[in-house]
Each structure stands twice: as structure tokens, then as C-alpha cells.
Symmetry: D2
Subunit: 312 residues, 4 copies
């Protein structure tokens, strides 16, 4: 993470300002507010603002005049019920806003989640910093042989070294040329007075996809859970899972009862198809079933055995 001293000072200044509010407030999330949690080599996630808490979910479900909450255990029970039966609207009543710094190729996956609000740092107006994502050696994976979109073993030795060199050199060179084409110094003055300088909106096209960008991203709790269910999943690319991880920790601090229900009914849950269910009934009744007798495809059989903690 590469925050300048001025940026860190701004963050600390924000953290020091407090005011009295009548709104629902979550001390555990206040403690994290504005702080940049590091992700990858130069990225971060920080919470800028939030609205609501576990009780706000309950309050909306009951359309109540006061906080609408009863005993903590009753509220948690209602939240579990809502999660189990996919009653999503009460979870939409909470909102959170993040400031995220992330490589452009990760931003392109992230933005597919359309039910969110985004303000991205504009390379039409401003100049992007010289910061690129370079994978740590343990994340420099080969193409998976089994899975067209997966990763295989970690690259090693000369191949790893060469890949890292190429990534570093190409990103650096592209950024150097970007700055040269812009022909603009830190104070806005021309570096070479004999040149005009290329428009920012054009020069940016020379940057590589591992260049860092940043944005404000705001979403409601229901859509956040959907985002995390997909992006914290083992099938998601490592580089976006690296963002989902601290966001799960933030979630736990913010809405602990919702987090617990989410962990049980989403993160740790498995959907059994009608065909799998038929097999399951036979197994539970004591029948020995193998893949052939299951009428499932090999892949689905393997997925089902994995969910049941058995060898395929």
C-alpha cells in the first residue's frame, strides 16, 4: 500500500472528527472507519460511510415505528429466517460505501456487479500514478490443465523470473511513455516546451491492465452479500478474492448476526439439484450408489461427493 504522508494525515484528520448522531451506529465499524486495509501490493479497501445495522434489517422487516428490535436472540432468529427464505428486501435497507484502490483488470471484473454506485478516478481529467500490480511469487500460477479458466501449479525458477521481469518492465515502460506523451510535470508545466503534449484521454490507452485505479463504491447489504458470495468463492480469481477477504471482516464487524446467517446459508451452503436430491435420498436410505448408478455426469458426481466430504 502506498499512501503518501499527506493522504495518511487526511485519513487521520477524518478519524478524529466525531459528532453526535441519532442514527443507528455500530462502534465496531466506527473503529475501522476511513482506515485503509491493505490488499495486494499497492491496493486497499477502506470504509467511508455506512447506514444501518442488524437491527435496521429487523426494523424494516417489521415496518416498525421504533427500532423494531426485541431480544438479541429473537432478532438473530428473524435474520436467519429472512436469509433462509431469501427475503432479500430487508437487507437492502443497509448501505455501505468504500474507497478501493485496485488494478484495472480487477476493476473490470468488479464493475460487472451493476447494482451499485461507482465514482472512478478519471484518467480523462487526471494522471494515474506509477503503480502496477506485480503478483507475489506464490501467486504466479501456470494455466490449469483441467480447467480453462483456472490456475495450475506455481511457476518456478527461470520461467517465474522471466515473467516477473516482463510484467515489471512492460508496465514501467508503458507508464514512462504515458508520462512522456503527456509532457506534463507535477506542477502542470510542460516538461519539453517544444511539445504540446497528448490529451490525457488518449495517452491513458498506453497503460497496461495491471495499473492501479481507484473508486468510491457503494452498495446495499443484499447486493454486497451477493458480491461476496461470488467473489469470496474459490472459483473467483485470486486477485479479486484478495479484496473480498477484508470485506468479509468488515461485514462481520458491521452486522454480526447477518454475517453469521450468511456464513451458514450461503458461504458454507450447497445447492443440490433435483437429480442430486434423488441420489441423496437413496444414499440416506442406506443404498450404496456409485457414479454410474447415480445417472449424474462425472463432473456433477464429483461435485456432489466433494460436498459430502467423500471420495468421488
Amino acid at each position: 500500500m502506498s499512501l503518501s504522508d499527506a493522504q495518511l494525515a487526511e485519513i487521520e484528520a477524518n478519524r478524529e472528527q466525531t459528532a453526535a448522531t441519532r442514527r443507528a451506529t455500530v462502534p465496531a465499524l466506527e473503529e475501522l472507519l476511513y482506515r485503509a486495509l491493505p490488499v495486494l501490493d499497492h491496493g486497499f479497501v477502506r470504509v467511508i460511510d455506512y447506514m444501518g445495522d442488524d437491527a435496521a434489517v429487523v426494523q424494516a422487516a417489521r415496518v416498525s415505528y421504533g427500532r423494531g428490535t426485541r431480544r438479541v436472540s429473537e432478532d438473530a432468529g428473524l435474520i436467519r429466517y429472512l436469509m433462509r427464505h431469501r427475503h432479500s428486501t430487508p437487507f437492502e435497507m443497509c448501505e455501505i460505501k468504500y474507497h478501493v484502490k485496485l488494478p484495472i483488470f480487477v476493476a473490470r471484473q468488479w464493475i460487472r456487479h451493476r447494482t451499485a454506485n461507482v465514482n472512478e478516478y478519471s484518467a480523462r481529467y487526471s494522471i494515474l500514478d506509477r503503480e502496477f500490480y506485480i503478483p507475489a511469487p506464490e501467486h504466479l500460477a501456470a494455466q490449469s490443465v483441467a480447467n480453462r479458466q483456472g490456475r495450475g501449479e506455481v511457476l518456478e525458477g527461470a520461467e517465474a523470473a522471466e515473467v516477473l521481469d516482463l510484467l515489471r518492465q512492460d508496465a514501467a515502460r508503458s507508464h514512462d511513455h504515458y508520462v512522456a506523451m503527456l509532457n506534463e510535470g507535477a506542477g502542470g508545466e510542460k516538461i519539453d516546451p517544444s511539445r504540446q503534449g497528448l490529451a490525457r484521454e488518449l495517452a491513458r490507452m498506453n497503460l497496461t491492465l495491471n495499473t492501479y485505479t481507484q473508486w468510491y463504491w457503494k452498495t446495499d447489504l443484499h447486493n454486497l452479500l451477493h458480491f461476496l458470495a461470488l467473489r469470496a468463492d474459490q472459483h473467483a480469481q485470486y486477485e479479486i478474492r484478495a479484496y473480498a477477504a477484508p470485506m468479509l471482516e468488515i461485514l462481520r464487524a458491521w452486522v454480526p448476526a447477518t454475517y453469521a446467517a450468511f456464513a451458514d446459508y450461503r458461504l458454507g451452503a450447497v445447492n443440490f439439484s433435483a437429480a442430486m436430491l434423488a441420489v441423496l435420498r437413496r444414499m440416506v436410505a442406506g443404498e450404496a450408489v456409485d457414479q454410474k448408478g447415480s445417472f449424474l455426469s462425472k463432473r456433477e458426481w464429483a461435485e456432489m461427493m466433494s460436498a459430502l466430504g467423500r471420495d468421488a
Copy 2:
């Protein structure tokens, strides 16, 4: 407005609880928080929660590390710029949540605004109160002769009296029969032990469309402005404009710079079509133009003259 003493006590209890927060806080809106602002005969709007302020719009537009604000006049200037050029995403960074009590036929207009989150009081689970909207005499309008969806003069005398009687009687009778079909007392006990009682999800179909319902409604500032531009407009039905009015006052308390820009560029603004613009250029150049010479339809000519404060 018909809040019970218990409901008023819950609201006051909520208002008395304050906590320290690091979040952006707006004292003028805190002052209004939770309070039910009366609308129509039994309805209300009350703010339950909010996120952000004018500075949060600026902060998102600048993707800044701190509050991102400079002098108040600079911030207001940026907000005016964003509003003028329809840069909507920074306004999406603020959020507000209301509790609204409203007649069902108003709720059906309101719900067409899809970019919002809603939790409505469920008549499948619960029993609706015996409260109906009956127009005040000055709002009991005849059908407009000129406009198929507008109102004409106010009804008077015997016709007005009869209409009010019918509205009152039909709503009351339908609700009485609703309760009778439910066969369920205040404590959940059967009123007539020899009867089963009709399912709530069925009995509700007997209610009239002026019965009051209530919901939690949450939206971002950009979509709120869009809602208010349409629903505070003179072409909107009076009964929904009655809700837009206090919501505009809440807006002014919450984000005064945004409100001012909105009043100038939306509420008080007029869109001139290409054809109108051609006429306007001729008029500004000193030419006397009449409807025939304008090549505009009579209706468009009248709209244009009205916008210019002239007789058609």
C-alpha cells in the same frame, strides 16, 4: 395523522438516543430525524436514516482521501457544474431512508420508481388499520374537460356531499367486512368461535384503494431528485405531490447546495426542443413570431409561451 401514544413514545425514545460517530453528519437533518411530518389526512413521511451530505458529493467526484472539500463556495460551484452537465454518479453517493404512510393508490404510483428499496407492511401477515384517505373538500375535483388525466373545477354542493358520503361509506363498509371475514379480534382470538376466518392474504382483496398502507423506502440522492422532479411537478396527481412537498423541505435541510442547484437546473428549468430553439433565436433577434409562423403545434406553442411568461 393518527399515531398512537405508543408509537409517538417509540419515536421520542429513538430521538433521545444519540451516539458519537465519525461519519458525515448533518445537524439540520438530525433535528428532523424520526419525526412524522403529516401528509393528507392520515399519512406521514419521516426520515429513518441518511448517509452523506453535500460534501460527500464533492468527495466522490474528486475520489479523495479526506473529505475532499475546499471552500464552501468552491464546493457549491462543483455541485452546480455536476448538476448542469448531468453528472449523476456523485449524487448517487448519498442515501436516505424514509418511513411513509400513504393510501394504496398513491403507493401504486410511487412504486413505479424502481431504483429504490422498499419494505411494505404486509397484509398477508398482518391486519391493516381502519384508515382511509378522504379528500378535503378543496381537493374534490371534477374531471378536466381539456386534459384526459387532469382535474377541473372543485365539486360543490350536493354532488360533493354525495361523493364524500360514498367514499366514506364504501371504504368503511369494505373494512368492516374485511374484519368480519377475518374473524379475528385484537388479541388474535376468534370473534365468532363457530367460524374459521378467511386467510388474511384473501380478505385484503375486499379493501378499497384509499386504504392506508405504509413502507420503508430508501433511495440514493440522484434517484430521489428524479422522483421529486416528476412528483413535485404540477402534472403529478395532487395526492402524490402532497408527499413530495415535505420531502423537498427535508432535501433542503439535508443537502442545501444540492437543493439550490436542483431548484435552478431542474425544478425551475425548461427544456426547449430543437424546433422551439429555432423560434427562440428568431425572437431574440427581434423578429415577431406567431404560432403559425413558428411551425410548432398549438400545444407546443402554448407550452413555450407559458415558459417565456407570455400570452399564447
Copy 3:
């Protein structure tokens, strides 16, 4: 269903017009096009237009230049894969548009699905017909004792008769008074020349919630599946399930491979929570588990046993 002869003639006229197109075309759906499939006592669903077919899902998933399809079995396999792994965007590439006639209380449930386009018949402009939903005797259910939002046994004898009488009389009387307040004949002339007639936008508030309305409703295939998964479910109110049923048949005619995958992975599937999964692993390993030993709540245990086809 109460279509006038003129309406039936319009529908037949539409069905008789055909044109040549280069677009993806589904003969089985063309056969159904425009036809009103009856629902409840006066309602219907009819398909007005559609875009795409099973192959369009495959084509979008492959971002191909031609139709993108290979052998039928390969395409079906890809569709199953997309459905199983919740890759929703290829299903968004198909679209369907319906004309639906439905009671207002059903419309209010339906409209909660926000990711769709709607044009409803406006009672601000026009006058609603004298048609109300009255449940068939076998659907006149008592309130469930076990479930606050469910139905119990069917009402019988005097109670059933009285309920039906009240529903019929209140709806009819409210509509009669609606017409009287409007004071407008079929040709637009005043019924009573001495009266002005109440504005349509006001008079409609006297109607009961079982009055029929109608709308055009358009959605993409992904959101349609989500709608059907919720509304064809046994927990949905009967009156909306009655619409989901013919829509499922339309779905099967339109995109048979998608329908088959949907039936397997959604309609007939069950989500097992992390806690249920732990119990399942013990059961499959041969352990005898009862509710107490499962650490599941009674309700969750019962749901799980039901999914496994066993006594709770």
C-alpha cells in the same frame, strides 16, 4: 376470461400477419403468440413478443460471430453448466414481453420484481371495467393456524357462502359508485347532466383490490427465471402461482433446454446450509441422527427431512 368479440378479432388479426425475419425464431412459441391463456376467473397471460432462444444463450456465452451453436447436446450441456454455476448474464440475452390481466392485489406482489419493464393501464386516463376476482370455492381458504402468512383448510357451508356474498357485493357496489361518481357514459357523455363528475384519478380510489387491471410486462430470461422460482413456489400465494403456471408452460415452449436445466437446478433443487451439510455427512456415513443430535432448530430439521423425503 372476458375478452370482447372485438378484442378476440384484434388478436386473431395479429396472429394472421406474418413476415419474414432473419432473427432467431421459435416455432413452438410462434404458435402461442398473442393468444390469451386464461388465468383465474377473468385474467389472462399472453405473449406479445420475444427475442432469442436457447441458442442465443449459447451464442452470448461464446461471444460468437454466427449462431455460435454446435450439436444440440453440447449446447444443452453448456446451458446446464451456466445454470449450475449461476452464470446469469448469458440468460439475460433473451427477452420476452407479456400482456397480463390480473387483480390489483396480485399486481402489487408482482411489481416488487423491479428488473422488468411495465406499462399499466392507467385509471387516471381511462375507466376500469366492472370485473373482479372472486375465488373459486376450492380456493376460499381459512387463515393457517401454523403459519402467519399461509392458508389453512377450505371454508365451507354458511361461512363460505357469506364470504363469497360479501366479496361480490362489496366489489360490485364499489364499482357501481365509482361509475356514478364519474358520471360518464360509454360514449363519454354525462349520465346526469346536472353533475360534473369526479376526476378519474380520484374516483378510482373507491375500487376494491380484487378489481382487475392489466399491463404489458417485459423482462429478460434470467429475471424471468428468478420470478418463476419465487412465484411458482408453494410458499407463494395461490393467486400469483396461477399466473406462474402458464408462464412455465410458455417457458418450456420457448427455451426447452433452459427450462430443463431450470427444473433441475432451481425448481427441484434444495439449498443445504452449512449446518445441514454437516448433518448430511453424518447421515451418509451411516450415523443415525435425530433432531436433538443435529443441533438444527425444529423447523430446519423438519425442512431438511422433508427435502430428503423422510419423516421429521
Copy 4:
């Protein structure tokens, strides 16, 4: 545009297949269907499918049983009325689907329009072609001095030559290294058998932002008009306006009455703020007003004079 012979053949094969349909059909758009309209140096837009026509807008506004249309002039009048009064829902009843090939930095602007469906060619699964956008000399603009996000004069001479060289070389080198890191030949075989090859999802980060990607993009007519109003505007970056231009031509072929109303009320229209309107009234009344006397800012005065075709 660089379509292979095989791709062109697939497109022609699609164009040759026709079928009979009962759906609304637009011969002028059928003529364009599937054809790739070239944009920039390697990009294109082609229509893959569509739903509805001008009459479908009218039909939805009237919620009719047949096509709902009357005389062409009446339909056009209704469409103008809907456009003028921002009744957007009838326009949502038409839908169009494109296949677009575009540089990644353009895709990143485009994707901000969230109310659309997208399937992008995945560089996690597949390998991107060696195609980059290099601006034509007349589009190689300097940074604007007046406007932080605009373009100034065209670069010339040595500076232009150097910029083009850098753009070409960096894009080509980055792609060459991308292929080398992948270590995968056209047939999937390893180029260098001693190396594993970097995972596709990682290697793509080395590509520059002017690399071409492609996607299927589907939207409704209302949201398309919003997209075109913003992206065909002179303030939009040239490279996205280059896509808006053929899309406007497609629009005109598809829904000519909607296009005409859109041209009058959106493309050629100007929004006058309340403050501008006050000035306008004075001018139309014959008063000579200058910037100082207008109480408008210099920038707003200049915008208003420009709209009126006068010197600022």
C-alpha cells in the same frame, strides 16, 4: 475492421436464414441485421437481434389487444408527446442486441451504463487477438488548455510521429510478451515445451488499454436513447462517439418516428435553468441584457449565448 473469412462466412450464413414470424418486424433493420458496421481501425457494431418497433411503443402506451396503432401521423404524434413529457416506460418495451468490438478503454466508459445486459469475451478463458487501436493522425489531439477533460489542437510533425510510434510499439511489445508468457500456440500446444505457461487470467494484465475486446450488449430503447444522448454529445470522447454515430443510423432505420422525436427533444434540445429563463424572458421582451446584467456566471452566459446562436 479485421474479420476473418470464416467470420464473414458465418455472418453471411446467418443473413441467409430467414423464417416466418408473427412478431413486429422492421424491414429496414432486417436489411442491416448481423452486418458489421466498421468503427475506428479494427472495431465494429453489428445488430444481432431486436424486439419491437415504433408501433410497439404506441401499443404499450395504450395497453392494447392488437397492434394498438392508428394512422401513422397519430402514432408519431403520440410518440412526440411521450418524448416531450418524459414518459419513458413505453420506450422500454423495445429491445436491441448488438455485438461490438471496441478498445478496452472505450469499453470501460461504455460499461458505466448499468441498465443493460453484457457478455464480454473472457480473457480468463480465451486469448485476445493482436489488435490495438491506434488513432488516425487527425484524431491525435493535444490536451485542451481550456478544459481539463477536453482535446485541443491536433499534434503534428515530430511529436505526432513519436506518439504514434510509442503507441504502436508498446501495444505490440506488450502483446508479444503476453503470448510469450502464455506459451500457447494456435492449436493449444506449448510453444516452448520446457515452460508451463502463465495462467491466462494473469497474463492478460500485461496488455495495454487500447487492445480490442468484444461483447454482446443488449438494452431497451429508453436506455439506448439515454446512452446515445450522452455518447453522441460533443463532450463525449471521440472514440466512443465513433460508436454512437452508426448506432444513431441503426436507430433511424429501426424506429424512425422515435428517432425524429429524439432528435427534436433531446439531441437538438437545450435545457434552460431557472436563472437563464429569467434572462430569456427579459430578452424576448426586448431588453438588452449583457453577462453582468444577467447574474449568470461567465461560463453559463457563454453556454446560453451559444444555444441562442449569438456571440457571448
